[in-house]
């Protein structure tokens, strides 16, 4: 089962269009603002990175396809803000009205939102961006696989935890045989964390696949694809 964001291997997208390497970081002003508003809202503490990825993936296939990158961000952000109760549908309606007026006649809305004390302050920005959000954890099961070991990914790429839920096993790599390349330690399981089901950390591995295992017409016999996959995505493969 494939979903619109899970596009690895898809046909028909046309050429990649390289850009000058010294071009602007943000193609237009609103791209920069979309990024900044999204990151600033993260500090309200109402979701994690997996929740916000899932919010982008849950855009309707039609919207996901026609929206540019930062349109996906800002639209998913609006959805998340309402779903978590930070804003209401009426707030969005009002915001739209005011944007339409353009007059910006800033009629004072209530200043004191219960979460406003969590607002990201300018002097906190550097520290927050530098701190990041590490995903590795001490707890969780022991590693079941060793580097070099042969494994097979689950045949079905959809989330095993939640029907239609978030997962990071791409469809093109489901049911494929590969080898453990590297063990990354235990990492938060997005399939769980995206749905408020806890971090459920698990061993995470880089798993190497021959291109010929993934594609009927690989470009070159020696080519490979490596994916980072959690232990629950993998089964041991008997060595014949």
């Amino acid at each position: 089962m494939s979903r619109v964001h899970d596009m690895g291997g898809r046909f028909g997208d046309g050429a990649v269009l390289p850009e000058p390497q010294d071009g602007p970081v943000f193609a237009t002003e609103w791209h920069a603002r979309a990024l900044a508003v999204t990151l600033a809202c993260g500090s309200l503490g109402q979701w994690n990175i997996d929740t916000s990825r899932h919010a982008r993936e849950r855009l309707s296939p039609k919207d996901y396809s026609r929206f540019s990158y930062y349109e996906k961000w800002i639209s998913a952000l609006a959805d998340l803000l309402v779903e978590t109760g930070v804003l209401t549908l009426e707030d969005l309606e009002q915001a739209a009205e005011r944007a339409k007026d353009q007059a910006g006649g800033s009629e004072e809305i209530q200043k004191s939102h219960p979460l406003s004390s969590r607002r990201l302050l300018p002097e906190q920005v550097a520290a927050v961006l530098a701190k990041g959000g590490p995903a590795d954890r001490q707890e969780g099961p022991v590693a079941r696989f060793q580097p070099g070991q042969k494994v097979r990914t689950r045949r079905l790429s959809d989330s095993a935890l939640v029907n239609g839920g978030h997962t990071r096993l791409p469809n093109y790599a489901a049911g494929a045989v590969g080898h453990i390349e590297r063990y990354h330690g235990n990492h938060v399981l997005p399939d769980s964390a995206a749905h408020g089901l806890g971090e459920a950390p698990e061993p995470l591995y880089a798993v190497r696949f021959a291109a010929s295992e993934l594609w009927a017409h690989p470009e070159h016999p020696g080519d490979q694809v490596v994916l980072d996959l959690w232990q629950s995505y993998l089964l041991p493969e008997e060595v014949a």
Partner: protein, 222 residues
């Protein structure tokens, strides 16, 4: 045409993207949930402070110092943290080395994961459907679109960033750069060479570039 506002509240916002951002930004500011000065600070960070120059510094050091390179390939997160390159979207770093036998290339097919502290914000093409869809299936055709053709006996290994681990490619050091300083080497390390859709620049291209930029500086002075 009716929209389902309850499933997709964003449909209530203006369809035009710049206006959509503005509408959301305004109401969040009014409610005290975001601070405009903090937004400026975030934009300034990614526009002016964090970018591919960070990754290029790491690559140049690896070219110059075998011990640094060994440590980098062993545990990149710690090594780049010591250089001050750590943070959001770079919490778990792995550096993969290009050799005559193997070329590495990085993609994120499921979204657009990218090592921000080392390379900054990803370019448009990295986030495009075409790159996300095709890099894993036909990396050589994609490389050709970047003007890169690999020798037939070089294999390609594509890294699909499906978790919170971020990958940086260590490109091959160009010939004829023996004895160059770190700053001279940095100038050879393009952003695309650290994603794997390019190679490091040839020594000659930078020497010419230096002359060209000197000329233009003189031209400006006149």
């Amino acid at each position: 045409m009716p929209h389902d506002h309850h499933d997709h509240p964003h449909a209530l916002l203006p369809p035009e993207p710049a206006l959509r951002v503005k509408a959301l930004e305004t109401i969040l500011c009014d409610k005290g949930l975001i601070d405009p000065a903090a937004l400026e600070e975030i934009i300034d960070t990614y526009q002016n402070k964090i970018g591919p120059q960070n990754g290029a510094r790491v690559v140049a050091k690896a070219w110059m110092d075998p011990d640094f390179k060994r440590a980098l390939l062993q545990d990149a997160t710690e090594v780049v943290r010591d250089l001050g390159y750590y943070g959001r979207q770079g919490e778990h770093m792995v550096v993969v080395e290009n050799t005559a036998e193997q070329h590495n290339m990085v993609v994120c097919t499921l979204c657009s994961c990218y090592p921000w502290p080392l390379l900054g914000i990803p370019p448009g093409w990295y986030k495009s459907d075409a790159y996300r869809a095709r890099a894993v299936r036909e990396p050589r055709k994609v490389l050709a679109e970047f003007g890169v053709t690999l020798p037939p006996d070089t294999s390609v290994r594509v890294w699909d960033s499906t978790a919170e681990v971020r990958y940086l490619v260590l490109p091959m050091r160009p010939e004829g750069t023996e004895g160059w300083t770190e700053d001279q080497l940095v100038a050879l390390v393009s952003r695309d060479s650290m994603i794997g859709t390019g190679l490091a620049l040839a020594a000659a291209s930078v020497i010419e570039g230096v002359e060209a930029s000197n000329q233009s500086v003189e031209g400006t002075a006149e």
